[in-house]
Each structure stands twice: as structure tokens, then as C-alpha cells.
Amino acid sequence: MNNKTTTRFIALLTTALVVFGSGCAATRPKEGAEPPQRTLESVSFQGSSIITDVSDPWEGWNRRMYNFNARFDRYIFAPTAEAYKRYLPKLLRMGVHNFMRNIREVMNVGNALLQFRLRTAARSTGRFVVNSTLGVAGLGDPATLMGMYYQREDFGQTLGVWGAGPGPFMVLPLLGPSSLRDTFGLGVDYVAWTELNIAGYGSWARSQFLFWPTLLYAVDTRANIDFRYYELGTIYEYIWVRKLYLEVREFEIKR
């Protein structure tokens, strides 16, 4: 890793977290309250639980952010995605989805190469070539029919392949669960994306009214994620999501 950048990034992040995360406390039992009938000692608990034993030093901030994201999702993001699915014809939505995936393919190729996953890189390159031509600028996805399936790769995964652990768990505003490693990876991907400016798409998108292509990308992404905040059915949703996010990232790194 580029140490200077990382250090600066971590420093910035830590400052932000200390500012926002301060005042995060444990639950506050009332003064002089009776201890509960069942405690850690009475359930003879020693050692750690695999589910809670996760590095999460900024839990207060993370939980607030999780809750903020849930509100945003419930009142704005999810209803938008639902309306998008309900009122736009599937063909159009598929076109948008394919186009967005196709334009991102360059990131997949780059990261696969950095991971020395040459087969994946070749497949993603093949997809880009086929879909950009036969698929009419990526609106269609004939490559999948030809057996070249889509595989998302990002720099967080690349770092993982290089041996970096996830580091502390983080919940990013609007973007959701992440880790220090993946947040850093996201930053690198973003810089690469801006610098590469594939087919002039990035600069074009940024010059549009309300950045609508980026908003469309966000809605398309949300419409394809089958998850609703606080619908997992457990009051411990944050703890389960935290663990499952980290597990799934491990899956993606191994693939």
C-alpha cells in the first residue's frame, strides 16, 4: 500500500470519527437498578462470540450512521428504487443496468490484473469488447449468453487478495457497511475512475443536470439489492449485518 496516502487518509478519518463518534456510550442502566437475572457470568460465558468478536472501535458512529442510512433508505432511496421497478419497463431497466455494468468493466479488469487473476481479467475484457460492440454500447449483455459472466472486482478486494485484513468495521454515509480497507479501496477506485474517464463518460456524467447519470446509477444499484433496513427481523440487526458483511467480503476476495 502507498503508506503516505494511507496514513493521511487514516488520520483524516480518525479525526472525523473522534468528532462524530464521541459521546457514544454503552446502554445506560438506571442508577441503582437491579442487575438482570441472566448475565454473562450466569450463562457461563468465557472467551468470545464469533459474531460479536469483530473490530469495531467506532461503533457509536457506525450505529448512528447505520440508523441514518436506514432512515434515508426507508423514506427516499427504497421508495425511489421501488417506483423505478414498478413504473419503468423491464427492457429499459435492463438496458440501464447493462450499460452501468459495462462502463464499470474497466475497473474489474484493472483490479483482476492487480490480483493476478488473469482468467477473470480476460473474461471481463472479453465482456467489455463483446458488449460494447454486439451489445450496442453495453445496452445489451450478449457476453453472458456466451458464457462470459459478470464478476465485480474492486480495490478493496485487491487489497484483500494482497493479504490486507478488513481492519475496523465502518458504516459509510449513504453507502452502507464497509471496512477501513474497503473504504480505502473505494477511494482508490474513485480516483482511478475519475482519472481514466472511460470513453469520456465520467466527465460527461459530472456535467449533467443534477448529475442524473450518477443518480440513475445509484437507483439501479439499489433496485438490484434485495435488502431492506430493519427487516431482518431482529433487534440485533446491526451486529448480524456487520458480521455478514465481513463474511461476504471474504467470499468475494476468495473468488
Binding site: G23, C24, A25, A26, T27, R28, P29, K30, A33, E34, P35, P36, Q37, R38, T39, L40, V43, F45, Q46, G47, S48, S49, I50, I51, T52, E59, G60, W61, R63, R64, N67, A70, R71, R74, E82, K85, R86, T144, Y149, Y150, Q151, Y229, Y230, E231, G233, T234, I235, Y236, I239, W240, E247, E250, F251, E252, K254, R255
Partner: protein
């Protein structure tokens, strides 16, 4: 018998064998090893040695008897999975009817059941009871669908029911289980679920309000029906009885799908699947890592998008052949997660001071790891004995644990179930949540209103073609042509 065999083997720590003559993917009548025998016999018939023929006629006769009995034991086409595997995998895609629905014809509704109950800021998201409606455009019968333990209005089994009934022409209204987080917060009187009559009354109230305040405004309904699976199945029976007195809906028919007979017994069994197999934090860690390791490897070998549905699970099962102990532990874990939530929420809402000290100020930002761990190590039995019974005794000191167990069981309204002709039952011989003799008890009570499938585990065969057809036929309906 099959169930007993599996369980005994399970108890002895052995891996029970699936009937060896059948591949697990093979469906329908299958002569297995008998095919070869029949072939040999017919070859003998052709042979010149006539003396042999007579002797071998007997063999042929025996062989065909074998063949028929095998075919008869097996004219049910659900895959040859044992109860544990069927519960985990459920029905493979190619054995389901085509239940796809065009577009998104559903509406998510919310209902305020207790206007005076303040919404707790840290559970702002459960401010109202949410339920899902699939309305028809023309007058149609309406069916209420009740979710299983811990489930909200969504989930794979609920989806099967929504789709099947919607395609068959019903308005479908899906309600969360009284044991679900959202129902406990928004529609439960006691907020400590587990007693069948009280939970069902809560459901009935919510259904009535939903109908009177919301649904009656935009739906034209010809008749009312109700169904539910698992715990929702048991509540379905009680709702049918309650409706005979309250007469809000005058349900024409009610179908109980895989209900427990005794909620307490079934919960104890499910608890045991997890707690008897995983006795320490180290074992829990090992189990978790084993499951995650296997899933991770499978994921790495899958191409493209991975759908964690029955196809994927079936594939994994065929490759890895997990033993029943592993599968049972997994089923137990899912139940333990449900119980963990239920116990915590009931403890906080009833201020029982069982896991969370009385008067604790909750906050969104708080670390709750200790409560998570303690609740995870609290069994349903503990919940029942230490929280539910004392909670009920607060209002009625004469209540005992035995009385509550009885009220949490179908036996508490056996007379009604025995005599009514409205309520039907669909169950599985190898359902893993049933204790010894409970299926037989149900057969006795329901008589010819009971349909007991030879296998399918706990709700594993709900989406199987024959089951869907049977379920719809019970309500006098069927899927459209070609599905």
C-alpha cells in the same frame, strides 16, 4: 418410522443413511434396484429352461410385489430428502409450478393498532404494523396468510403463498407472525408472545382493523379464508374458532400447514438441535466457520450472480452431503436467532429485567454485545419458565407453567378441531419439529381432513407442485392453465 430411524441414528451420533436405492435427484416412482431384478426375470421367461420358468414365476410375483410397494411408498414426487435436508433446502425450482407474476401487483400497507402506544425512538422503524396485500381487480375471495415463527410479512414461504393464491384469483393479505419483532412492537397486547390464544386474538384484532379501516375501502370480497404455515398454521386453527364467535369474517375454510401441536414441545426440539450440538463458544465458532467456509468455497466456484435459493442449496447439498447433525444444528441456529430476538424484545417491552436491567435507557449508538450474547444463550425453555410464566402471573397469580403450556397447544381447542368441517390440515410425516406421536394425534383429530405427506420436513415441500395444487384445491381453486 423413517423419522424415528433418523432420530435414533442421530442420537447415536451416526449419520443416518438415505434409502440407498434412490438418488436424491430422482423424482417420482422409481423401481430402484428392482429394475435389474425384473430384467433378469424377463430374460428367464424367454429362456428355454421351462422348469426354471415356473419357479421364477414366484420370483417374478415377489419382485412385482416389491415393485408395487416401492412405487406406492413413493408415488409422491418430492425428492428423497430426509426431514432435515428438506427443511433446509425446500423445493428445487424445477419441481415447483410456474408461480411467476407479471409486474409488481402488491401494496405494502401500515396499520396503527394501538394509537396510544408511544413509538420508542430507537425502534422508530416499527411504528406501525406492516402487511402486504395482493389485490385483484375484480370481486374475488380474500385469503389471509399468517407467517411462521419470527417471520414478518415477507420471506420465501410467504412468497410461495402470495404467488399461488394471487394466481388462483384471491386477494391475498399477508400478516407478520405475532412472534416477529414488528408485530411485538406494534400489534401485540402482551408483547411477550408464545401463548396461542392471546397471540391469535392479537392477530384477529389486527385483521379486523385492517379490513374495517383499510381493505374494505378498495377490495370487493366474495368470501373470506385463512391459512398459515408453521406457528402461523396453529394460529390459523385458533382464528377459525375465534371467528365462529366474533363473526367478523365468517371464514369459509381454513388450512393449517405444518403446525406444531404443542408450541412448547416444538420449540424445545428446535432449541435442542442447536444447544445439544453446540455446547461451548468454541463449538459455536467451529460450526460457524465450517458453514462459512463451505459457503465461501461454493461461492468461489459459482459463476456470475449467486442466488442463495433452493437451487444453490440443493447443489451444495449434493456435493457435500452434510450429515443430519450438521443440518439439524443449522435449523437450530436459525431458531436460536429468532428466539434471541424474541427474548430480548419481550424482556425490554415487559420490563422483566431478565437480560436487560429494568429501566435501562436505550440508545441507537449503544453497544449491546453482552445482551446479544446472553440472549443467544437463553433457550426458549428459559424464556418460557423465567419470563413468560412470571409475566402472566403478574395479572393472574394462579397461572402455572403447565396451564400456559396447555394454552400454547392445539390440545386446548381439540374439541373444535375435531368437530369443525371448515379446518383442514396439511402436514409431513417427517416434520422435524414434531415430537413422537404428534402427527398420529393430528390424524386422529382431523380424520379425513388431514393430508399427511410422506416427506418434506418442516415446510420444505410447500412449493412442490402437488402441494400447491392440493392447497388450492382445498379452497376450491386452482392455478391457471399451463402453470
Amino acid at each position: 418410522m423413517e423419522r424415528r430411524k433418523i432420530r435414533d441414528a442421530f442420537a447415536a451420533g451416526k449419520r443416518p443413511t438415505l434409502r440407498p436405492a434412490y438418488g436424491i435427484l430422482e423424482k417420482g416412482p422409481n423401481c430402484g434396484g428392482d429394475c435389474a431384478k425384473l430384467g433378469r426375470v424377463s430374460a428367464l421367461l424367454m429362456s428355454e429352461k421351462k422348469g426354471f420358468l415356473v419357479k421364477n414365476l414366484a420370483v417374478l410375483f415377489l419382485a412385482s410385489l416389491l415393485f408395487w410397494s416401492a412405487a406406492q411408498a413413493d408415488d409422491y414426487g418430492f425428492p428423497m430428502l430426509d426431514g432435515f435436508a428438506a427443511t433446509v433446502i425446500s423445493t428445487p425450482e424445477n419441481l415447483r409450478p410456474d408461480l411467476r407474476i407479471k409486474g409488481r401487483p402488491f401494496r405494502l400497507k401500515s396499520l396503527t393498532v394501538f394509537p396510544d402506544r408511544p413509538v420508542k425512538p430507537y425502534v422508530w422503524y416499527h411504528d406501525k404494523m406492516r402487511y402486504l396485500v395482493f389485490p385483484q381487480k375484480k370481486p374475488a375471495p380474500l385469503i389471509f396468510v399468517i407467517a411462521g415463527t419470527g417471520s414478518s410479512y415477507h420471506g420465501p414461504h410467504m412468497t410461495t403463498l402470495y404467488q399461488a393464491f394471487y394466481l388462483a384469483g384471491f386477494h391475498v393479505v399477508g400478516l407478520p407472525s405475532p412472534t416477529s419483532f414488528q408485530f411485538m412492537m406494534t400489534a401485540s397486547t402482551t408483547q411477550a408472545p408464545g401463548v396461542l390464544d392471546d397471540d391469535s386474538r392479537d392477530l384477529y384484532r389486527a385483521m379486523t382493523m385492517a379490513w374495517e379501516q383499510q381493505l374494505s375501502q378498495d377490495l370487493e370480497v366474495t368470501d373470506f379464508y385463512v391459512t398459515g404455515y408453521s406457528l402461523g398454521g396453529a394460529q390459523t386453527g385458533y382464528l377459525a374458532m375465534l371467528d365462529e364467535q366474533e363473526k367478523v369474517f365468517n371464514f369459509k375454510k381454513a388450512l393449517m400447514i405444518n403446525p406444531p401441536v404443542s408450541l412448547y414441545n416444538s420449540a424445545k426440539r428446535l432449541d435442542g438441535f442447536w444447544r445439544d450440538n453446540v455446547r461451548s463458544a468454541e463449538e459455536a465458532t467451529a460450526f460457524w466457520n465450517r458453514v462459512m467456509g463451505a459457503l465461501g468455497e461454493e461461492y468461489a466456484n459459482t459463476r456470475g450472480a449467486v442466488n442463495l435459493g433452493p437451487e444453490f442449496l440443493y447443489d451444495v447439498y449434493k456435493r457435500r452431503r452434510p450429515d443430519d447433525k450438521g443440518l439439524a444444528t443449522l435449523i437450530g441456529l436459525v431458531f436460536a436467532i429468532t428466539a434471541q430476538n424474541m427474548i430480548t424484545v419481550a424482556d425490554v417491552t415487559t420490563q422483566s429485567g431478565y437480560i436487560v436491567p429494568v429501566g435501562t435507557t436505550a440508545s441507537t449508538a449503544a453497544n449491546v454485545d453482552p445482551y446479544f450474547i446472553v440472549a443467544g444463550r437463553t433457550s426458549f425453555e428459559n424464556y418460557f419458565r423465567d419470563l413468560l410464566v412470571p409475566f402472566y402471573q403478574r395479572t393472574d397469580p394462579s397461572i402455572t407453567s403447565e396451564k400456559l403450556k396447555y394454552r400454547a397447544s392445539l390440545k386446548s381447542f381439540e374439541d373444535y378441531l375435531r368437530t369443525t368441517d371448515k379446518v383442514g390440515l396439511s402436514h409431513n410425516r417427517d416434520d422435524v419439529i414434531m415430537a413422537d406421536g404428534e402427527i398420529e394425534w393430528l390424524e386422529g383429530v382431523f380424520g379425513d381432513r388431514a393430508k399427511i405427506w410422506p416427506r418434506g420436513g418442516h415446510c420444505g415441500n410447500m412449493a412442490y407442485r402437488e402441494n400447491v395444487e392440493h392447497m388450492l384445491a382445498f379452497f376450491g381453486a386452482s392455478l391457471p392453465e399451463g402453470r
